[in-house]
């Protein structure tokens, strides 16, 4: 399968993963290894940044994984920039998943603060992957300030509701010059395959893997679904037929004309 390039990194796997909600760090480690995922996001608030033996970090210590610290928990641009700076120092990476959700209930991203923070973080040399609403205009604005990708949501985070924003995702994919990673709401491998068939560059999955009865098997299932979707996209899906074809041609009169 073709690889995906974001900033200066090449990814063979187009499945990105999260580290929350697992029943233990050991299960997390096994599932993420099985997923083949090469980009793994973790909440700053969950890790002890000054502790190398931190329970989460120590289980992510594999060459396969690139760490993508996220700013989950911050409520505005200022807090996000500060949190990203701490993460850069502690985890030795300038990659950051920018998440600003002032609403703690549905964790929906704040577009105004996200754009502001992205602008500032790019200026400070970060590789910024912003989590946003499936808003095509916002995605273009983020691309213009220099984010390395955009991460629009399929439906509210943790909802497992699939691609409820599909009309907007299609526009974002069509218009984007940076990779589009569908993040949040993907609840089943079929949702991920669908996103990839539409031309998304990658999917980020957490809840659906972590909360399943068998996270290792579910991680593999998502890996296969993402690959299948990508392959189908590259092979080009046949056009959908929406209606029956007329049995007698409507344009046969053209043959009678010169």
């Amino acid at each position: 399968m073709d690889s995906l390039k974001i900033a200066d990194k090449e990814f063979k796997s187009r499945l990105f993963t999260g580290t929350g909600k697992f029943s233990s760090s050991v299960v997390m480690e096994e599932a993420l290894l099985a997923s083949g995922s090469e980009l793994v996001t973790m909440a700053l608030r969950r890790v002890e940044m000054d502790n190398r033996d931190d329970d989460i970090l120590s289980h992510l210590n594999h060459n396969q994984f690139n760490l993508l610290p996220n700013t989950s928990g911050v409520r505005n641009a200022k807090e996000a920039v500060f949190a990203a700076s701490l993460a850069r120092e502690a985890l030795d990476t300038n990659w950051v998943k920018l998440e600003i959700h002032p609403d703690p209930r549905y964790l929906l991203p704040d577009p105004v603060e996200t754009l502001k923070a992205a602008d500032e973080l790019v200026k400070q040399g970060f590789i910024v992957l912003p989590y946003v609403q499936a808003d095509p205009v916002l995605c273009k604005q983020l691309e213009e300030v220099g984010t390395a990708a955009v991460m629009p949501l399929g439906s509210p985070i943790g909802s497992n509701n699939g691609l409820q924003t599909v009309e907007m995702l299609k526009i974002i994919i069509e218009q984007s010059n940076v990779p589009v990673v569908v993040d949040a709401g993907i609840g089943a491998p079929s949702h991920a395959a669908y996103a990839m068939e539409l031309g998304a560059d990658a999917c980020l999955i957490n809840t659906a893997i972590a909360v399943s009865d068998d996270p290792v098997s579910m991680a593999k299932a998502f890996s296969m679904a993402v690959e299948a979707g990508r392959m189908a996209y590259l092979a080009k899906l046949g056009a959908k037929r929406t209606g029956a074809e007329a049995s007698s041609p409507l344009t046969s009169f053209l043959d009678d004309l010169n």
Binding site: G20, K21, F22, S23, S24, S25, L44, R45, R46, V47, E48, M49, G73, V74, R75, E79, F82, A83, L86, P102, D103, P104, R105, Y106, G158, S159, N160, T207, A210, V211
Partner: protein
């Protein structure tokens, strides 16, 4: 419009009548609702739903896993002072009781903080009686500064403060404030709260508005089960929760379920909430609100707590001492109530793991605020 204005025309006995008239088809409708309403919640906490507890448990398990994962957060209370200026008939810190009183010195606070952090805790709840003479905001500010290096999330359960004082504490690391109305029955509230600032029903209720305006990260609500009919009180709590979520939408919410426990005051509960009632209530809350945090303290016994790990609860205290100085020293005669689950934090964490859940010690970082 504040919450007190919202409920001034809502009659306690009307609510009771509504709850007790719910039938099984109301319960079925509530269980099938995409976003259950307060009216649906009435059905879920009604006696009519008692036959649905198993189905509710299954839903609660599934909904909680989806939102919170297979995790339970752990926190520990640190009692700073048992001085109190209130006379609440049910409480072991009642100012009318002749009991030894103590407020920890800053040096003692530091010793306790070190003892607690050695147990592995990163989330701490500071508790005091309600005395603005013995443990005022200046004292609390000092405590925050002293313990901040040891913890990533600091909560308080202390006397109501002014908006300005909450803002002050937010600057030095305050995250969550737990404040319990105890009962929403304005007619009987004064029977339980005889003296002190807490005797003002409206003053107590206004605290939540102050917290919202100050912008605390999380607010914890709750009633004291045993005072009034828990079903009616719970319904008022749900109205309060919905009001707060709409008005102070940046704040997170948590519900606690204290039940009256034996204490030095020897107050007997007049309305009993059974274990089965409490289980039904926890499931009902989860179905009503998929996102609200549900906390269970060591007031509940080990068997109940262990069985609730995967059924809706999202945070638990462990290894709790309810007397000031209880971690570094030992003097039980100061305690607010005797705990029902006296396992060590490591033992509680093991029980959580045995249920296939991950005990979470840290879910916040002081750098985020």
């Amino acid at each position: 419009m504040d919450f007190i204005d919202h409920i001034k025309d809502i009659n306690w006995s009307d609510i009771a009548d509504k709850i007790y008239s719910k039938n099984s088809s109301d319960v079925e409708r509530a269980l099938a609702a995409d976003r259950p309403s307060v009216d649906d919640f009435m059905a879920l906490i009604s006696p009519a739903a008692s036959g649905y507890v198993e189905r509710m448990a299954v839903m609660s398990n599934r909904l909680t896993q989806k939102r919170f994962g297979k995790t339970v957060q752990l926190y520990v209370p640190l009692y700073l002072s048992n001085y109190c200026e209130n006379q609440c008939v049910y409480c072991g810190f009642n100012s009318g009781l002749k009991i030894p009183r103590k407020v920890l010195t800053i040096e003692e606070v530091k010793e306790e903080a070190i003892a607690i952090s050695k147990m592995g805790f990163k989330h701490i709840l500071l508790v005091t009686g309600e005395s603005s003479k013995k443990a005022d905001v200046d004292y609390l500010e000092e405590v925050f500064k002293t313990i901040k290096p040891y913890f990533s999330l600091i909560s308080i359960e202390v006397q109501p403060l002014s908006q300005n004082d909450y803002e002050r504490l937010l600057k030095v690391g305050l995250h969550t404030v737990y404040i319990y109305q105890e009962t929403y029955n304005s007619n009987t509230y004064s029977n339980y709260h005889l003296k002190g600032k807490k005797s003002s029903y409206s003053g107590r209720l206004d605290t939540y508005e102050k917290l919202g305006r100050a912008g605390v990260y999380k607010m914890g609500l709750g009633i004291l089960a045993g005072l009034e009919d828990w079903r009616v009180d719970t319904l008022f709590t749900a109205l309060h929760l919905r009001y707060l979520q709409k008005r102070y939408w940046r704040t997170k919410y948590s519900i606690s379920f204290p039940r009256l426990r034996p204490n030095a005051g020897g107050y007997e509960p007049s309305f009993v909430m059974t274990d089965k009632d409490l289980a039904q209530l926890i499931f009902a809350y989860r179905i009503f609100d998929n996102d609200v945090e549900l906390a269970l303290s060591t007031r509940e016994d080990r068997l109940f707590r262990d069985n609730m790990i995967n059924l809706g609860v999202t945070s638990m205290s462990a290894g709790s001492k309810t007397n000031p100085g209880g971690y570094a020293q030992d003097n039980d005669d100061l305690e607010q109530f005797s705990v029902n689950d006296d396992r060590t934090p490591v033992e509680v964490a093991e029980a959580i793991k045995d249920h296939g859940y991950e005990p979470v010690w840290k879910d916040w970082d002081s750098s985020l605020q």
